[in-house]
Structure formats: structure tokens, C-alpha cells
Symmetry: C2
Subunit: 587 residues, 2 copies
């Protein structure tokens, strides 16, 4: 609409307002006044849209819109997404190499599906507003939706390898720079079905090590324990059955609290006999490899407990398989690893990298352990900061309850375990007859993609990675040559060469070079009127190099080479630069 329309609208708004005032004075019917007010609203919206300004109707003058993402969430721009897409591709490639098939579930679930699965952490679930209909909540992890899917689809999918990559949601205190978010991405791989003992378990650990090796996260270890050994230890030490889960949670804190503090919590908060606590302390201090298993096998009281004996035998088989998979050197058998979630029934594990440890814990042992908070489940969770610190930060920052970031590591970058009863719980609950349902044994791992990104991204920046894959930039030296540029661009793209050009009718050559440089495009293709008549174009290669860790354009007096326009695609694809760049030189 033209400017005169704006004036018409303004005049009409004024007229309507006068009319409304008159109607009010005359104490006219309120429905009539309302009708005219609505019309004014319509007119104002139409005017605001024309003017490109904020709607004064929706927002009062002086009331400013806060332009930000919700707390604990963020946007990822081009460079970051280029890195994240690369991480996702590597993970997916590993998942399919291990025979996995993809599953996708909705981002929200019916609330009763999530209920009773996350213990204390249920308070972290994001609920949707009841707008009439079902009660819904955002998924907290991929494990519960997967189990719901397996239960829904019955026996058909019993033996399956399924992977999911997607976002999950927790209303936790965020530490953005360490990849500790309210919205974060997890890549899960799960194996379901009844198989011979420990083969799927070994397969999963092998997968985890393969993914972490290929992602270039640096040196890592997989801390591992077995729920049945842990439960056996608690029984042997004399922990009352109903206290086993809560004492297990206390043990899980050993990577960020001293034994003295954990013992105090066991006695004072959980009412455990000090002698029992001391006996536990003797066991959970152990970390090691296969030799630790031999030590446990020689422990008569432990081997006398059915649960512990079962767990130790399973670990023994697992270690044999892990040798065949050639990943045994990555394993740390850690008797203090407990993991918070109730649903684990067999081995449990967490992967940590040197880079992910918080600075305060660096000296504690070779790999400063900074594993997950209790009860954050099949996830890759950061260490829980003490409430005090979070509180302090909250006082300082007002609305933003940020945590003192220097004290928090990236945390475990992957975690998981065996959960043999979760699918059966769904099946039983769906039957509703109170009977036990046939279970479906499962084992899984969740890889925390934001944690991985927090480790990999600084390396990418240092290496001078690109944020686009464009290979050719088509320019005009002559009089614009827009049609000729568009035709060549379309042709190059058709052949699969990622190509761009400047959206100007008659752009200057330096402006075109600058645009190509901004996207770090290796081939400048320059069209000239006379050359085109001879069927030729000029190709000038653009080079970059790292100088003191910074990527710089290499300036060159090279005038470029003349290439036949008709053979350009083939020529480009045959160059060394094209091949190097395509296979990820600057990724």
C-alpha cells in the first residue's frame, strides 16, 4: 500500500476515535462502542504493519520488548551450527556403522508417561499449559519415550538397536558456557532384547568408545560399575533394604564430596549406623581395572551374597569381551559410581574427558572425576553445584541464577546403563491388572552433544574452520553480466558445486571479492564480456593459512587461469584444492 494509504488510515483512526468519544458522551450501547474500538484496533495494526514499527496497540509506548531467548536456552549461529552438524554427522555415522536404526518420538509426552520415572528430579520437568485436552510435558530424556515406544509396539521390536538424536528439556540451573542447558541435545543408542549375557553390554561400550574417538574430544575414560555389585555391597555391609536407593545416591556424590562429608550425610540425613557406613567406605574407595575384579572375587563375604556374586560374574564376562573389542584400556572400574536413576538394573557407566573436569578437582586423581548429579538419569549431567554457590550467584545477578562457572566442569559427556524393567513397567501399567508384565531387557547410552560441542568448538575456532561449504563465487568483471552470472551459478549448482554470487545488477569487482572472502570461498570465477565471447572464464584460487592460530587470506598477485566455460565443472572438480576442501580441509 502506498503512502496515501497511511494517511487515509491515520485520518480514519482519528475519525473513529472522535466517534467513540461522541458515543460515550451519548452513553450509547456498549456493544456499539466496542465494535468501533475493534475497528480502531484493526486500523492501528494495519498502520503499524505498513510503517514497520511496533504495534502500539499490543505494546504500550515505553514498554520495551525483551529480545532474548528463554533462560537456559540459546541460538546457535552459522559457525557454531557448522560444528554441531559435523558432530551430529559423526555420531550418526557411528550409530549406523553399529547396525542402529533411527527412531523419532515427539518432543512432548502425556504427563502420566513421564510420571514416576525421575524420582526427585520430576520437579525439573517442563509442563505444557492445560489448554483443554491432554496434560503434556516436554521430554526429560530419550530413554522413557523409547521405553514407551517399545511397550506400545509389543513383541515386534523386541530385538532392536535404535538410536535417537534430539533435544530434551530440564528446568535446571543453567551454566551456558559449559553446555549445561535447559534445552540440550542428546544422542541415544539403545539395544533391546534377550541376548546372551553381556554381549550387548560390550557392544554398547565399544560404540561409546568409537564415537568419542572419532569426535576428537581428547583423552577419555569410561567409569563403570554394576548395580548388582553395589546393592550386594550395601546388603553385606548391613544397609536396611528400604535405605538402599538413598544410600546409593549418597555414594554417587563421592566424586565431588569427601568421604567424611558423604559419611556424615549417610548418618545424619539418612540415619545410617556409623559402623555400616564405615564398611561401605572400605568398598567404594576402590577404582581400577580387571585386577580390582580379582580382588572382589577373593572377597568371601561378598561372593556369599547372591546379588554381588551375580554382578561380579557379569563384570568378569564383560571384561573378556571388552578385550576382544580392544577397549579395555578405556575402562575404569569405579566402585563409587552409583548413578541416581532408580531404573538401572545392571552395569552403569559414565564417560569423562580430561577437558571436562572442573579446575578444583584437577589434582584429586588422574582424571578429576566430575560425574553426573544424582538422579539426572540416563544423561550426561554436570556436577551439581552446592546450593550455596547457586544462591550467592542468584543474589548477585537478580533474575539470572547463574552458577559460578569457574567451579564447574563440562561434566560427564556420556552416560548410561542397563535397565531391564522399564519397558515391563509400562506394559504392566497399561494392562492395569496389577500383575507383573513380561519385561524387555534394554541397555543404552546418552551422549551429551552440548558437552561435546563445548569441548570441540574451541578447537574448531583455533583451527580456523569455516561456517559454510561454498566452493565457488561467480563474479562479473564487466558490465554486471547478471544473466550470464545467474546462468553459470545455476549450472554449477546443478552439477553439485556449492556456488554463490552477489545479488547486485552491476557490482564492483572488489565488492564481489570481499563477499567471496567473507565466506572463505576457494574459487573466484570471473566473467568478462570479451572472454565469454571466446568461451572462456577466469578462475582465481583463493588461499588461506593459519598465522599464529589465526586464519588469514593469503594475498597473491596471481592473475588466475583461463578455463573453458563449457568444461568448467570438470576442471574445478579435478583440482587438488577442490578435492582437499571437499574432503574437509577446513571442514
Amino acid at each position: 500500500m502506498a503512502t496515501e494509504t497511511q494517511e487515509t488510515l491515520q485520518a480514519e483512526i482519528a475519525a473513529q476515535n472522535n466517534l467513540i468519544n461522541d458515543l460515550r458522551k451519548q452513553q450509547a450501547d456498549s456493544a456499539l462502542i466496542e465494535e468501533h474500538r475493534k475497528k480502531v484496533g484493526e486500523l492501528k495494526r494495519a498502520l503499524a504493519m505498513l510503517q514497520g514499527g511496533g504495534s502500539k496497540d499490543a505494546k504500550k509506548k515505553g514498554e520495551r520488548l525483551l529480545l532474548k531467548t528463554p533462560k537456559g536456552t540459546r541460538d546457535y549461529g552459522p559457525g557454531e551450527m557448522f560444528c554441531r552438524e559435523h558432530i551430529e554427522r559423526v555420531v550418526k555415522e557411528c550409530f549406523t556403522t553399529f547396525g542402529g536404526a533411527c527412531l523419532d518420538t515427539p518432543v512432548f509426552e502425556r504427563k502420566d508417561i513421564l510420571a514416576g520415572k525421575y524420582g526427585e528430579d520430576a520437579k525439573l520437568i517442563f509442563d505444557l499449559k492445560d489448554q483443554g485436552g491432554e496434560e503434556l510435558a516436554l521430554r526429560y530424556d530419550h530413554t522413557v519415550p523409547l521405553s514407551r515406544y517399545l511397550a506400545m509396539n509389543g513383541a515386534i521390536n523386541t530385538q532392536a538397536k535404535l538410536w535417537q538424536v534430539g533435544k530434551v528439556y530440564r528446568r535446571d540451573n543453567p551454566v551456558m558456557s559449559k553446555g549445561r542447558m535447559r534445552e540440550f541435545s542428546q544422542a541415544d543408542f539403545d539395544i533391546s532384547g534377550v541376548w546372551d549375557p553381556m554381549i550387548p553390554d560390550a557392544e554398547l561400550i565399544s560404540l561409546l568408545c568409537t564415537v568419542l574417538n572419532r569426535l576428537d574430544v581428547g583423552e577419555f575414560i569410561v567409569k563403570m560399575n554394576h548395580r548388582k555389585i553395589l546393592d550386594g555391597i550395601f546388603e553385606v555391609c548391613g544397609v536396611p533394604p528400604e535405605k538402599i536407593r538413598t544410600i546409593s545416591s549418597a555414594v554417587d556424590k563421592l566424586d565431588k564430596m569427601s568421604w567424611a562429608d558423604v559419611k556424615k550425610e549417610m548418618m545424619e540425613e539418612k540415619g545410617l549406623d556409623p559402623a555400616v557406613a564405615d564398611r561401605i567406605g572400605e568398598y567404594v574407595k576402590h577404582k581400577g581395572g580387571p585386577e580390582l575384579l580379582e580382588q572382589l572375587k577373593a572377597d568371601a563375604s561378598l561372593m556369599g551374597n547372591a546379588s554381588a556374586k551375580h554382578g561380579i560374574e557379569e563384570m568378569d564376562i564383560l571384561f573378556t569381551f571388552l578385550k576382544s573389542y580392544k577397549v579395555i584400556d578405556k575402562i575404569s572400574f569405579d566402585m563409587s559410581l552409583a548413578r541416581g536413576l532408580d531404573y538401572y538394573t545392571g552395569i552403569i557407566y559414565e564417560a569423562i574427558v580430561e577437558a571436562s573436569a572442573p579446575p578444583g578437582f584437577k589434582s584429586a586423581n588422574a582424571f578429576a572425576s566430575s560425574s553426573s548429579t544424582p538422579s539426572t538419569g540416563n544423561s550426561a549431567a554436570a556436577p551439581a553445584p552446592s546450593k550455596k554457590k547457586a544462591k550467592k550467584a542468584a543474589e548477585k545477578d537478580g533474575d539470572e541464577e547463574e552458577i559460578d562457572e569457574s567451579q564447574v566442569g563440562v561434566g560427564s559427556i556420556a552416560a548410561g546403563g542397563r535397565y531391564d524393567n522399564l519397558v515391563g513397567m509400562f506394559t504392566a501399567a497399561a494392562a492395569g491388572d496389577g500383575k507383573k508384565a513380561p519385561g524387555l531387557p534394554c541397555i543404552g547410552v546418552s551422549i551429551g552433544l552440548d558437552r561435546i560441542f563445548a569441548i570441540v568448538w574451541p578447537k574448531w575456532v583455533a583451527k580456523g574452520m569455516r561456517s559454510k561449504e561454498t566452493m565457488a563465487y561467480v563474479m562479473a568483471a564487466g558490465d554486471g553480466l547478471l544473466q550470464e552470472r545467474v546462468e553459470l551459478v545455476a549450472e554449477l549448482r546443478e552439477s553439485g558445486i556449492k556456488t554463490d554470487f552477489l545479488f547486485k545488477n552491476k557490482p564492483k569487482l572488489p565488492a564481489q571479492f570481499a563477499a567471496g572472502e567473507r565466506d572463505e570461498v576457494p574459487f573466484a570465477i570471473i566473467l568478462g564480456g570479451d572472454e565469454l565471447k571466446q568461451g572462456l572464464v577466469t578462475v582465481k584460487e583463493q588461499k588461506w593459512e593459519l598465522v599464529d592460530g589465526k586464519k588469514q587470506k593469503v594475498e597473491s598477485a596471481d592473475k588466475g587461469v583461463k578455463v573453458k566455460r563449457d568444461g568448467l565443472v570438470q576442471w574445478l572438480k579435478s583440482t587438488q584444492t577442490f578435492q582437499e576442501w571437499s574432503s574437509g580441509k577446513w571442514i
Copy 2:
């Protein structure tokens, strides 16, 4: 924990219940009773977890859990996801070929960011529950979050090509089989910045055509119109300024209502003068190509209107560019296309395919037009079913207000337009001084991935596509040979060959062949004790063929070939089968 633990727990539960009864009889302190009740709860949960049954504490006996996904959402299993991942890969490849860079925004936004952007359809927004903190809502499209991002990041990103692929959410009536969902995936590509007229517009239409060509959706057309032409027509015909948007919405319904009905709505519901409506009718009945533009140019009254003249001149330039891009034959200049959203300011378009038209409209014209509902914005929306039909279905299905699916087509599979004022609106609202802010011209397209899937998936099923990419299945002919199998599997995977095996210690050969067949794996690699000693393995190629459109295993008496174990990777990769399957024979 062992079975004895279960018995201990059951005994303890009984003892605690007795104690509670006693305490009640003694009218003991209620806090004390409550403490014991909590303990019973803990014990029961521990027992339920052990037994793998539903927690009787959380769910009463007889109260059945509904195992389903929320209304309007669904799971996608392995075969479907294999197809969806393929679609996504093709789309992303096109996006990067056109110089796009990736952006990712959170799945939810602050409510005030979404407010006032979707007109009547604001009622379809999914709100999050207020759990203390910000008011949030799930994103409705990618256009508004992108505009928020561009406004937040100021001038830095003014000239950009950005793409996003992700899920968006609308509380609409779902038609699942046609890809009309409450949770659905959109792939967006947007170009922002001040450029010479219509070059980005042509680039975007070229991109859209490239994506649809590569996705194999069948014949398609891109219906196109220009908001400024439409507004000019309304002005010339004598529509009062405040009625322009609502009359525009009425025109948008012409692809599913007769002109007589639309005219009736204009007169009766919107109070338009019948003579004005008739004049509009004369214009909007036109569809065509460049020749229609010539016809408009010859219309003196239209060319006398500033808005219409501007729009016609832009279309003229655009058509020239579309010829250079060689996509002009895909365009249908359709003067009845209006699109509901207020924020469009220039060209608007929708892509439809033959397959996407609802059956009832098939005979209407060459391409039964079945474009979007009004006000569903920068989306690929299905035609709105009449309220009556939805109501009727609702009565029939109770809770599930499904629509009569046979009457609904897939609808437009992509749509978009130019929106030059949206980013400026955010900037102005953030400044809050009521002044107009500098705008950022944008043009974008949203591709409806669920609609594309609804068209492509049946073709995949007919072609017998796989749901996994596994290339080799390692088997044992002899005595299990688990260690040997695991070592070979690990080696093949290390070399990038997607490999699997059966998780059994001593599996029978037929069981292993059956498992490999289930995943349609082309290479069976059979280990035998004696052969291994000679450094050999047997490779048996598995073949499939389509018989009457059904994929069947080709039975063969072929005993396979003996290959050196050490050269196996190289041997496999050099076979024709490996190369064909890797490059997507069965995708």
C-alpha cells in the same frame, strides 16, 4: 538384589502397615503416622522396581495407563526415519549448495516474542505452564524466531542466507495420514538484507524448484502473486482501507470455495458493497504466466494505482530472472493467491504437487489447487476442512476430533513470501520509544517435511527401500567363535563398513542368516575354525529383487567365495554390490 530381598521388603511392608494401624488406633501424632506411610511408599516403590511391575503406589489397581503419543503427534520407526533422514539430507544439501548457513533457535520462545504475529491463529499456539519464571510457548514457525534472532544480532547479520530445519507446533485439528500434524517439521531458507530488486526473490524460487526436483515429489507448480498488486486491486476496486486484510483472507479461500460463496462471505460477513466484490471477482479469476502480466500492464486503471504499478514492475523483473534460472515453466501467476499472514509485503508463493490435491478438487483444473488455510503463515498448511465435517467426525470418535481424511489433500508442500517489516517491528518494540526502526528486508520459504514425507514414503515402500544401511553380517559356522566374530566386526567397523552380528555365544547358522536377512544385509561373512586357521573367510552375497512390487530374497545355491581374512575390507569395498548399495541402490 536377589529374591530374598523381595521377601524382606514384602515382610517389612506388612510390618509397617500393621504399625500404622496400631498408631491410628492409639490416635498417635499424625506426623509420626505420615512418616511411616512415607516409609511404606519407599518400600513399595523399591519392590515394584525389583518386580518390574507398575508401581501400585502411583497407579491404583485397575487404573490403566494409556500408552500413546499426544494427539496430533506420532513416533516414526526405523523404515520411516530412514526415508525422513534421506529427505532431510537432500534438503540440507540443496540449502548449502545455494550458499546457506545453518541457524538453530530454541523450540520455545518467550510468549511476548510470538504475540501479535499470527492474527487469529494465535489460539493455536502451545503455551508452556507457568512454573515460576518466564512465560513461554512452543514456536509456531521458524520465521518469527529467525526475525527475533536477526533483530537481536543487529547489523552484523544483515546480509545473510540462513536455513533452519526443525519441528514447529500448532494446536490444530490433525489429519495424520496427510502429514497434517500438531508437531511437524519444517525446513526454512531465508535471505535477508538490502539487495538489488528481485534478485534474492528469484534465487529463492530457484532454490524451491531445485529442492522439489531433487526430492522426487512428482510434477509440481509454484503458485505466485504479489501483495502490492493484490492491495492495488483492492484499492482500485474500492475496498475501504481497513477491510483490505479481511477481504484478502476471503480471496485466499478461492481455491476451496466457489466465487459465489466467497462473494457471499465478502458481502454478508465483511459488509462489502456487491459492486466492489464484482470488480474484485473480475481480477482474481486470472491465472497464467508472463502473458497475464502483459494484460495487467495494459490495464490503465490498475497502472494508475501506485501500489499495483510497483508490484507489476517487480513481477516483470522477477519473470526475467526466472527465465535465466530456467524455472519460469514452473510458475503459475495466480491472482487469487493471497496467503493469510499480515507480515508479507511483496511476492507470495505456494508449491503444490498433483499428488497433494484432495480428490474432490481433481477435476477443477489441471492442478487441483489445495493451498493453505488463511493465516497459517509462512507454512505449508493443508486446506481447512469445513467446521461441519470436523464436528461430525468429533461426534463419531469422541475425544479424537479427526477429520474425514478422504476429503483432504496433502495441501501445499512449501510456501513463503517477502516480509520486509518483521525484523524492524522487533527492533522497534525492543527500543520501546514508539518510533519506527530501520527495517531488514527478508524473503523466505518453508518446506513442509511431513507433507513431503507423506508423498515420498509410499513410493519408498513400493520400491522396497531398506530401513538400515548395514553392509556386512558376520556369522560363525563352527563352535560360536564369539571372540573371532567380535574382532572381525570391530575391524570392519573401524574401516567404515557398517557391520552387525548375532549377540549369541553359539548361534546356529540359520538363525544368523535369518537375522542378516531381516536387516537385508548384502554380505554374509561366515567364519569357520579350519578356514580361519588358513587365513580365509567365506563371503556369500545376498540378493533381493522386486517381484510384483514386493521385495523378495533371491534364493541361491551359491556356496560363496573364499576370501583372505586380511584382505577382506579391500575385497568387499571393491565389489560391484558394495559400490551399488553404498551409492543408494536400495537407499
